[in-house]
């Protein structure tokens, strides 16, 4: 057994490049997969932490009707009256980015938070005059503690949030005697109405942020998986070659008395050792990938959805184990075919050793048929299936099916090329290219998947950006947005603004259940701002007139799709149902939403505060007006928002998203290039019998090398041609099927020919670079090496 193992392993010592390819392929595949997983896990943990603080929106709250603070006296009165409520003060610490949360640990509902205050001594400190401020260690590092209470760190807190006693928070935020809201303990509460001016607000189900960013993570995961699959192609070709070359040795081992079972065991042992080593390397690399990408990802998520993600990685044991597991499973998967062949290895060598070339051609047909069946399955799933599993199943079948069909397609195309060619060299070129296809098929399949992933994800991100920015342009039609602090201030604002602006458009909203789910109703003034800009997916004629007349409502795309509504269907609202007269796109919003006339809204929800306004002004004057507003009314930061800033911000976000996807794109293409290089290198040795006769008949080696170069480029170009529709199909499935199933809205797909052309150029360049070394080798090969083909002594 020992001797058997050392015989097996000696192969790798004699073929170090093959070993390096195997290890590199597996390590890179694992690296990309685990890197993406690390980023996702880190982000998810961050949301969970954010949500865990005060169970954020998971608890019912009591808030003031006008959105302003609640007098502390009211809280005391409620407690006396038997209400189980707990006070919270929340606000941004002046001159910092710190969100301060003041809580009362004594009345805080159980399960509300992972509050670090537990032990008695801590509790006393927390409540005492000076108090304590709990921060995430990273946040604490960037804070100058002038006038702040004693800082304590707790990694369980989300970044950018400080937790302290309610009294301390009131002092720091200048909110003495006032509270932001009251948390309501779960369970029975007095059966009495709340005092005038206070309302109960129902909890949200789940965390919004997590759901919003799911879209982003889903795409990252899909990408990571594709990269892993591409890496496995390298592993598969390296293992396949090693088995092919060791056939004779394995046969000898069998002849020497090792049973098939024993040999199988040895081979498995060898594979697992290699997988373990490569997997560990890959996880290390993945950590580096994640660490390098995470700041970008964090910035993207923060900008895109306002979700805070810590910019550093923490090592999770589960992640390590999952990465290693993936590496092992991947290796076994990639080795499956070789292992099967090994198990069925006949003891005697086949009579005609070169018959395998024929067998390969036949297996390409079989493979192509299987691929076609998968494509059919994919079409069926996408056309008739519903839900996320069908979407992803269709996607997987599409990619695998296309990859399986590729070699057969190349065989057919090169065969056609040969039949149409005139010159003898051109005919040979086609025929020889055709013969290369089986040997290169795995590398070309890897290239196909990498290119398709690039095209698909690139198109998706670009479409996302284009649509989202365009949509923002339309939805943020007003130049300025202002929020008043109280109803009284709102009235004064409106009066003051009327002569200074082209239009003051109140933005009214109320929460209400829609089809049994928590939803929102918006009141929208009939104004050209909306008529001209609001992006509609479907509408009856004179939709704005009907809404203004109180004869209809518009629903967002999410609600429209989720309830399979049609124009004209009735939607139940307090105060009577209204028919759907239009549908608008509402990207990123997880909730159902409807639009009605402001008058209808006030009639149906009389308590709705009128605090937010959109202001139409000459864009050149917007900045001055915003400054004047702040000066005149002493509005706090954030109460006046100008549209240009918002748009610039969202554009910046997309640049960051791009940075992340671009980095992943480059890595995936790099892996595919490597697969190509590995295959070409191993093939270049096997190719000599094919080129030597042509050389002997009078073609110079540089000429042959040039033809080989052209051959690689031709195959890459043909693969590129196949990758184009596949990539676009991938994008379409992601945008129109997966996104709809997962998030309820559909992104219009947009194709950017410039991007595709650039990608094509890069792919050809990568193929050229990958073939450079084998080609240069051929150009300078010693005649003796070619002559050896014809002599049988050596």
């Amino acid at each position: 057994m020992r001797a058997g193992l050392s015989a097996l392993l000696s192969h790798w010592l004699r073929h170090p490049v093959q070993l390096a390819m195997l290890m590199l392929g597996l390590a890179l595949a694992t690296a990309l997969w685990s890197g993406v997983q690390a980023i996702n896990a880190e982000a998810r943990a961050s949301y969970d932490r954010a949500a865990a603080v005060l169970g954020q929106n998971r608890m019912e709250r009591i808030v003031s009707q006008d959105g302003g603070p609640i007098a502390q006296g009211l809280y005391v009165a409620l407690r006396r009256d038997g209400w189980k409520v707990s006070p919270v003060v929340e606000g941004r610490l002046p001159a910092t980015d710190l969100r301060l949360l003041g809580i009362d640990p004594l009345t805080l509902p159980a399960g509300a938070a992972s509050v670090p205050v537990r032990t008695g001594a801590d509790l006393a400190d927390f409540l005492s005059g000076g108090g304590q401020l709990y921060l995430n260690p990273e946040t604490a590092a960037g804070l100058r503690p002038d006038g702040l209470p004693a800082l304590r760190t707790d990694p369980g807190l989300p970044p950018g949030t400080g937790l302290t006693d309610v009294g301390v928070a009131q002092r720091l935020l200048g909110m003495e005697g006032r509270l932001s809201y009251l948390l309501v303990s779960p369970g029975a509460q007095p059966d009495r109405p709340l005092p005038q001016g206070l309302v109960r607000r129902a909890p949200d189900d789940g965390t919004d942020i997590a759901r919003l960013t799911d879209s982003f993570h889903l795409n990252l995961t899909a990408f990571g998986f594709l990269a892993f699959a591409v890496g496995l192609f390298i592993v598969n070709s390296a293992i396949g070659l090693a088995f092919e070359q060791r056939r004779a040795m394995l046969r000898t081992l069998r002849a020497l008395g090792l049973s098939a079972r024993e040999i199988m065991g040895l081979v498995l042992l060898e594979l697992l050792v290699l997988a373990l080593a490569a997997g560990m390397t890959g996880i290390g690399l993945g950590y580096l990938v994640a660490a390098a990408l995470l700041p970008d990802v964090a910035a993207t998520l923060r900008g895109l959805y306002g979700a805070e993600v810590t910019g550093t990685l923490s090592l999770r044991p589960g992640w390590w184990l999952a990465g290693l597991g993936m590496a092992m499973a991947g290796t076994l998967l990639a080795a499956g075919q070789s292992l099967w062949r090994l198990w069925h290895l006949p003891l005697l060598a086949p009579a005609q050793p070169r018959a395998w070339a024929r067998a390969t051609a036949r297996s390409l047909w079989r493979q192509g048929l299987a691929g076609a069946a998968l494509l059919g399955l994919s079409a069926g799933l996408l056309a008739f299936g519903t839900g996320l599993p069908a979407g992803f199943g269709g996607l997987a079948a599409l990619l695998v099916g296309a990859a399986l069909c590729l070699p057969l397609g190349l065989i057919l195309v090169t065969g056609l090329g040969g039949r149409m060619a005139r010159g003898v060299l051109v005919q040979w070129f086609w025929a020889d290219t055709r013969q290369q296809v089986p040997g290169l098929s795995l590398a070309l399949m890897a290239l196909l998947l990498a290119l398709a992933a690039n095209i698909g994800v690139g198109t998706m991100v670009s479409s996302f950006r284009q649509t989202f920015v365009g949509w923002l342009d339309q939805r943020l039609a007003s130049e300025l947005y202002v929020t008043a602090r109280s109803a009284d201030e709102a009235r004064r604002l409106e009066a003051w603004l009327a002569p200074r602006t082209d239009a003051v458009l109140p933005i009214l909203s109320a929460g209400t259940p829609l089809f049994g789910r928590p939803g929102e109703v918006y009141g929208i003034t009939d104004h050209p701002t909306y008529r001209d800009n609001w992006p509609l997916l479907a509408a009856l004629p004179d939709v704005w007139g009907r809404i203004a007349a109180g004869q209809g409502l518009m629903v967002n795309e999410q609600l429209y799709r989720a309830e399979a509504l049609a124009l004209g269907d009735a939607v139940d609202l307090p105060g009577g149902p209204l028919p759907v007269v239009g549908v608008y796109s509402d990207y990123g919003n997880p909730r159902p939403q409807v639009l009605i006339a402001p008058e209808s809204l006030m009639a149906r929800f009389p308590d709705t505060p009128r605090l937010r306004f959109g202001l139409r002004v000459d864009p050149d004057r917007a900045g001055a007006l915003a400054a004047a507003l702040v000066a005149e009314f002493g509005l706090p930061d954030g109460a006046v928002v100008d549209q240009a800033t918002l748009k610039a911000l969202s554009l910046q976000v997309f640049e960051q998203t791009f940075a992340v996807t671009a980095a992943l794109n480059v890595l995936t293409l790099g892996i595919a290039g490597l697969a190509m290089f590995a295959s070409l290198l191993t093939l270049s040795g096997l190719r000599l019998p094919q080129v030597a006769p042509v050389w002997a008949m009078g073609l110079t080696r540089p000429r042959l090398a040039l033809l080989d170069f052209a051959r690689t480029l031709l195959l890459a170009a043909l693969t590129l041609v196949a990758a184009l529709p596949l990539g676009l199909a991938l994008a379409w499935v992601l945008l129109a099927v997966v996104n709809v199933a997962a998030f309820g809205w559909r992104l219009p797909m947009q194709v950017f020919p410039g991007d595709l052309a650039r990608l094509g150029g890069i792919a050809l360049l990568a193929a050229g670079v990958a073939s450079l070394i084998p080609v240069l080798r051929l150009a300078r090969i010693a005649p003796a090496a070619l002559l050896r083909v014809f002599a049988n002594e050596r």
Binding site: Q352, R354, A355, A357, R358, V424, L425, Q427, W428, A431, D432, R434, Q435, P689, Q690, A692, P693, V694, A696, M697, G698, L699, T700, R701, P702, R703, P783, A784, L786, L787, V789, F790, A791, N792, E793
Partner: protein, 218 residues
């Protein structure tokens, strides 16, 4: 003189130091004649043939083919001579695996710009290949492959046929038949033939016979 070798020396660097395989070879071959090159295994027969074809270069001396000094001619010129003037038949792996028999037969003639379909068809018939035209090399037996290689060479009507143990992989009867064909066809086309063989019997059937030993012609 079609082919002249004067004082040709070839030394290989091997693990045990330099190995002088050819040590001052003088040889000449006239158009329309045939010459058998014999010698023990490892005596340098193939090496000499390769130098004559311009596949490799001599270390010293002069190899002249159709009036061109191969030693000083560049790679493209030598490749051009192989294309247009020389026909090569090796012991094995002569054929282009990606092309079928018909394409292999016509390949060199088309490369040389001398493709004559009628002549090629006749060759195929004489060589007994007419039924195999659609097959690929790997679907042929060794003897069939050698017949295709010979047919390919003759189809191009080269001035010089260089054959390195073309029947070495064949059984005696087949070998004899193949050699018969080759001699007849060479005579028909008026080409010169230089054939390496270790079989004295076969060598005796050619016009002249020389033997290589210890790097010299005897």
């Amino acid at each position: 003189m079609l082919l002249t070798l004067t004082g040709v020396t070839k030394t290989y660097a091997t693990g045990e130091g330099p190995l002088t395989v050819l040590d001052g070879i003088d040889l000449a071959l006239q158009a329309g004649t045939s010459l058998a090159l014999t010698g023990e295994s490892g005596s340098g027969k193939s090496t000499l043939l390769h130098l004559a074809a311009g596949l490799d270069l001599a270390d010293a001396g002069r190899v002249e083919l159709a009036g061109v000094n191969l030693t000083t001619a560049g790679d493209p010129v030598r490749a051009g001579l192989r294309r247009g003037t020389v026909g090569l038949v090796f012991q094995q792996f002569n054929l282009i695996p990606s092309l079928d028999v018909a394409a292999n037969l016509a390949f060199q003639a088309r490369l040389a710009g001398r493709h004559d379909p009628a002549w090629t068809a006749r060759l195929a018939q004489v060589l007994g290949l007419s039924a195999l035209l659609g097959r690929y090399p790997e679907q042929l037996s060794g003897g069939q492959q050698q017949r295709v290689a010979i047919g390919r060479t003759l189809a191009a009507r080269p001035q010089l046929v260089l054959a390195d143990e073309p029947t070495g992989n064949l059984d005696e009867a087949t070998g004899d038949a193949v050699l018969d064909l080759m001699l007849r066809l060479v005579a028909d086309t008026g080409a010169a033939l230089l054939m390496v063989t270790h079989s004295p019997r076969l060598a005796g059937r050619l016009d002249r016979r020389v033997t290589l030993s210890a790097g010299r012609i005897t």
